[in-house]
Every structure is written in C-alpha cells, then in structure tokens.
Symmetry: C2
Subunit: 112 residues, 2 copies
Amino acid sequence: MRRDIFQAIADPTRRAIIGLIAIQAMTPNAIAEHFETSRQAISKHLRILSECELIQQEQKGREIFYQLELNKLKEIDQWLAQFKAIWENRFNELDTILANLKNKTDENESTI
Amino acid sequence: MRRDIFQAIADPTRRAIIGLIAIQAMTPNAIAEHFETSRQAISKHLRILSECELIQQEQKGREIFYQLELNKLKEIDQWLAQFKAIWENRFNELDTILANLKNKTDENESTI
DNA sequence: TAAATTTGCAACTAATTGGTTTCTTAATTT
DNA sequence: AAATTAAGAAACCAATTAGTTGCAAATTTA
C-alpha cells in the first residue's frame, strides 16, 4: 500500500490517466469514459496517484476535479539526470576520440 | 511476464542495480554483494531487466558481466518530454504574465 | 579427473495488485 | 420531498510479483 511515483507510473492505465489530465483537470467519471474499465477501477488508480501526490483534487459541488501535479513528475526526471550525465559524458568522450583521430590524420597528412 | 521499462524501474532493487552497473559492467555475484537479498533474487531482477533490454550481458568464461543500456533509459525521458513541454510552457506563460506586469508598472511609473 | 565456483532454471510460497460488486454519503434535479 | 447523479469505501477474487529452495550446466582450479 506504500507506493512511490515509480510504482505509480508503472501501470499503463495510470500513465494514460496522467496524460489525460495533464492539460486540464477532469472528474473520475469523465476520465473513466476514456477507458474500458469501470469507474471504480479508475477511482482506485486516482487514489494511488493521489497518495503519491502525483495528482491534486478540487471539489466543485458533488464533482471532484483531478489535476496533474507536474512538479512531482520532475522527481522522475531527477532520477534520470544521473544517467543523463553519463550518456552525455560518453558522448563527450566520443568527441575526444574523434578529435584525437582527426589530429593524427592531420599529422599524417602533414608528413606526406 | 510481459514487462515494460516502467514496470522494470518500479522496483527499488532494480533501480539500485541500474545505478550500480551504470558506470561499469558487473557480474550477478558482485551485484548481489551490495544487497541483503539472495543471488537468485538478483538473478531474477537481472532477467527482467534483460527482457526489457535495459541491460546487456557479456559472457567472459563462466562469468557474465551485465551492463546498463543507457539508450533504453532514454525511452522514459521521451515519455517525460511531453510533460516537460507543458511545464516549460507554463513557465513561459508566467514569464509573459511577469513581463506584462512589469510593463504596466513602467507605464504607471512614467505617468507619475 | 575431481572439486569448487558461477550462473541460470523450475517449482513453490506469501504478499501485492488490479479489478469487480455492493454499499454509503453527499449534492443536484425534478 | 423523491429520484438521480457523483464519488469514495469495503469486501472479495484472480493474477502477478518478489522471494526462497533445490538442482543442473558450464567453466576453473587443484
């Protein structure tokens, strides 16, 4: 029951919900209309997303509008950042290798 | 049994494995030494990561070195990109609002 | 060649997950 | 006031998951 954002986005339905309410807030019923499953199943997904603070809710009369909490998604981006640092670094290394190769080629050319 | 990258990174142990082998390839035994669980449990995690093509293996004698496939991690980054577009857009909107506010302030100042 | 090491695979188990059904509460309509 | 609508809560179920134990195959080492 103690879930984190990574478990929250592991489910494809939950990722679809996130995509759906990214632009504008929606009610559970409106969201459920976009899926094959029942409203209750969607409600459970919304509860999980709420527990992880990936979504926020605003009550309007008897309706509840759920909205994406974009800042929370940044936590995934932050986890990715450490690897991004590596892959960009590898790219730089490749740059260095290519630069070295070019220098050697130039040297050879100059001795011809 | 049909898992995708999002399910692969949902497990904290698997995320730790990913972090561990990000810099250099490691054998299952070496990886397992960093965790409380058994080697077999780690092996199962490695199989899941393999199935999702998040890691690659290279056999050296009786040892198998597992290495992170950085490019696969980019798929998560690509999924995040759509939301990044939104939050950067919101930031720009805020910029516009602030710019407008400033202009109005300037106008007021000029009329004083 | 025999013993030890490294690893993967299969069977089993307890816990968790996603889903359904039923029920209750609260806010609108009619 | 009665019926309808929106939504959360609880109980239940089938499928999946993470982990364990035991075993077999392949490579080293003694």
